[in-house]
Amino acid sequence: MNRKNLVIIGLLVVGWIRFLGQPNAFSGKLRMVFVQLGTPFVKLGDYFPFVQSRRLLARQNEELRRENDLLRRQVQGLGEVGRRNLQLEQELAFKERLPLHSLTARVIGRDASNWWKSIQIDRGSGDGLTNNLAVLNADGLIGKIISVTKGESRVLLLTDPNCKVSALLQNPPREPGVVAGIKAAFSSSPRCVMTYVNRDAKIKPGEPVISSGFGGIFPKGIPIGSVTHVEMNKQTGMYQDIEIKPAVNFRLLEEVIVITE
């Protein structure tokens, strides 16, 4: 390699750090151009069902059948009291959710890279979406919006290490902590870690974890997942690290809800 190439590479690295490495108007506009160029080709996948793996579709089918059977049994087993209870619960849930304005969106693409975890949805600034809006579904928290164009947005998933959520354990003593994805975990079932949890707290596997509402992005009380493993922080020993299995199956996401207010 000659000296000229080394100089060019050096200039590229410096240029990237100066102009693109930090979020600014120039990199934002350039990104938007490439997003608008690339998105139609991502959407082309809608017309080619073979891009969905047969295994995935078979599993979805199996899960839906099982869910259908379960729901049928539940409906059959519900008496009048059960029906009334369900109705009251739904009304209560509706009232609780009423202050939150939401919007449904379809997942149109995944992350094109192996090193970050995000999805692309078919709603954008034209639908009133902005950065840092919470995204969830019926199972729980999915992530937050990190970039928006007119017709699409990118959602950083809870399983990405850069997505940090203020959380607490649902059961008393409701210890707080911060949930983030595990660094590019090499696993087919993604995991998260809840850090800064009181070292004296007694936590059992299976305990549910919910969002705490601190930070202003994620509303309080959204399920995040359940505890799978607890250990003292190896580096400091000052707090506990809790491994969490997310409540959401990120592989099967098709529709999501964006909390707009």
Binding site: G38, V42, G45, G109, S113, S187, S188
Partner: protein, 155 residues
Amino acid sequence: MSTLTAIVGILIAAGLQARLPTLWLFGSLRIEFLPALVVYTALSMPRGSAIAIAFAAGFTQDALSAAPFGVSALAYGISSILMTSLREVLDRDLPWVQMGAGALTSTASAVIAFFCIGISFGVVFKMILVASISGTVTVLLFFVLDYARMAWGDA
């Protein structure tokens, strides 16, 4: 291969990367097509066009990802500069050269990503697998595109 064909190829490859399901058997790996395309253009097209296409490929991948914008562009750009300057030494028709170039281009992208996300044993293992798959994809892409060029002439 004309520049226009290469640009369409980049957009299709990026669209496929963002839409195809991951290989769950290999820890949810995503097949990368863009490194293969970058290697193919670097070893087949004029230097200026090949480097410009490499940057476009990186920017497109970053636009369809949560990555800091320009990370992949930097990796693919540097890989393309190095490959085009070593073109006289590299025999593009040798499958091992194609595979090595594809794996190294993919690794360059991963190494730059590590500066942003940190490094761990799992990450390194994943990088080796991604690089191996990218190398294999590169050999297949060379075979298909060379055959297409032979059959239909240079588009």
